[in-house]
Subunit: 352 residues, 2 copies
């Protein structure tokens, strides 16, 4: 099914006009706007054709046309022009990213916030490890008689810590011994293998009778369990209401509840390769709750088996070109920040 040039032009005009105004587009508006030198009647005929092809539809007999999901799909695949980011946009993004000297989860939630601000849609961000999380290394830092810090380096290059107070005395030598035992017994193994037996054996090995081993092992297990379930962030929910399709409270509620639920977020679309973005329109979404919303996602690469996704959710009437471009730029920036990671000056010095 090949579209004539004129049909393409008209479909494109309908999509773009509708994205802009949120009102069904009539034949006259098309003629005025996109400088076709034909009459509205001709456009009407063409639109009727496009409708029978399933690319446009009528809310009711006497109103203008609106793109169908399939219409948007054709637009996205064939008609859409690549959006060039304005200097202002790239500046904002670069500045926001550069200021980020934080821990991974903070970086992620900040990236979500940034995305949401820049697109005016709710944004989500998540990190996905492609391999089973294990601990690479333990360090125990002595603080005072009753206090020490557990520092754990995971194989996905994130670091977790916990400050521990205990009612019993904590000697530096004890910590040295404990950390040796943990580095010997608890590194490189998944959470399931941290059995009570292993813990008991480690208690014997370190001569611990005060529950140190139990505390540290407990932290390790908890950590690996939550690392498995991935971290997700959702921000900018209230942006949903800026779009007329979400004036319907029930619809807004459905989508928001879905987005508020971590399990929902994890099921959202994922693009295949880093740097690319993926657009999922209306019923293409697997989730029932998103059947009349669209999702745009981009993937970033944080090196060392750690990848992540940032995405936005909005009405099908969305400026796909602009959103995808911004998302990609942010994702690339994140890849650069996290993977290269040489967090010295000048993220904006690279050529973009």
């Amino acid at each position: 099914m090949e579209l004539s040039d004129r049909k393409k032009k008209i479909l494109r005009a309908v999509v773009e006009k509708y994205v802009e105004t949120a009102e069904p587009v009539g034949s006259k508006a098309i003629v005025n706007d996109c400088g076709l030198s034909v009459s509205s009647a001709t456009v009407r005929n063409e639109m009727a054709d496009l409708e029978s092809m399933g690319l446009l539809e009528h809310p009711h007999t006497s109103s203008g046309r609106v793109p169908t999901a399939q219409g948007y799909r054709v637009y996205v695949n064939e008609l859409m022009e690549e959006h060039r980011l304005s200097e202002h946009d790239t500046d904002t993004i670069n500045r926001a990213l550069r200021n980020n000297v934080q821990q991974l989860d903070k970086v992620l939630s900040d990236a979500g916030r940034l995305t949401s601000q820049l697109t005016n849609y709710p944004a989500y961000a998540l990190a996905v490890s492609s391999q089973q999380p294990v601990i690479n290394r333990f360090d125990l830092i002595h603080v005072d008689q009753h206090t020490f810090i557990i520092v754990v380096l995971l194989n996905n290059n994130t670091v977790k810590n916990k400050l521990v107070h205990l009612p019993v005395n904590v000697a530096p030598e004890t910590l040295t011994k404990l950390s040796a035992v943990f580095n010997a017994n608890f590194t490189g193994i998944p959470e399931e293998e941290m059995t009570p037996q292993l813990i008991a054996a480690s208690e014997r090995a370190s001569g611990d009778t005060s529950g140190f081993v139990a505390v540290i092992a407990g932290f390790a297990i908890e950590l690996l369990m939550t690392a498995k379930s991935r971290e997700t962030f959702m921000t900018g929910a209230s942006h949903l209401f800026e779009h007329p399709e979400f004036r319907d409270v029930d619809k807004a509620h459905r989508v928001l509840s879905y987005l508020s639920d971590e399990n929902g977020l994890l099921k959202l679309p994922t693009p295949d390769q880093a740097g690319g973005s993926r657009i999922t329109i209306g019923p293409e979404n697997l989730a029932e709750e998103l059947k009349d919303s669209s999702v745009v996602v981009a993937k970033y690469d944080a090196g060392d088996n750690l990848q992540g996704i940032i995405g936005v959710v909005g009405p099908t009437r969305m400026d796909y070109s602009k959103v995808a471009a911004r998302l990609q730029y942010i994702a690339n920036g994140l890849s650069w920040l996290l993977a290269g990671g040489f967090s010295l000056p000048g993220i904006d010095d690279r050529d973009s």
Copy 2:
């Protein structure tokens, strides 16, 4: 202005019925419900009195009564019975808290999620340090040739870390020297005093020419800056829609935007003493956006100058008693978890 017993009974009945049904309450309903042995006409007279006192109001002439903000206030101050938590509730809370072996920010966001689930309102959680944040201690952990971990202990007993890759070689001795310099020069001082001069001096002192000092100092500064601006979490936004007063999209939008903004959250009410809860009804709220919503907050104490607040936001028509009780229980649990902090088994063994 002292209320007669009967008036109290009627006001209380109106509030409780209205909280339950969300519909204006008529005189007949009161008679049926709260077992007063008087006629509806008498109740009507009493209600007219209560209205002239400003405790009840009429949406329109021919509808039942609804409590005013002042009416709720009287109810909360004088008439409300203390809500006893069910065993199921306390169990849920204990279980959720006990499983928490995480870092502070994670604990907080989890507490918010829990609160929101248990109350069916959007919840917020924030940590407030009553003193200026400074760093108590630096540790640098050598990982490999190009990698080390910065671990920083703040005076509010939170620990922050960052994994650093650098293109230059990192010797363990260098890190030892650096950590000595940082512990000497950068501990106990606020962010403003970490001047370029100090950084330059530290570079000379440690003989650093590869930018290590700059990286670590950058992390320290960034850390203190964000510690100053406090951490805030908001969860459960979508619960708003479960309440009929937020069927109005614009109203929901206003409140949600307000809650999505960190600066807004920081301005929400705070209770004075830990363990207590505070209820702010409708126009008592300073924020224009919350003039017809209510806020219930509870404070918890994490020892060592660190305090925090959890709260929920909902319509003025709220089961204050239940919400306040749950919030307090969660806050107490958090205090226990964070302050005592001996995270050994059995948070639920204490008597509650």
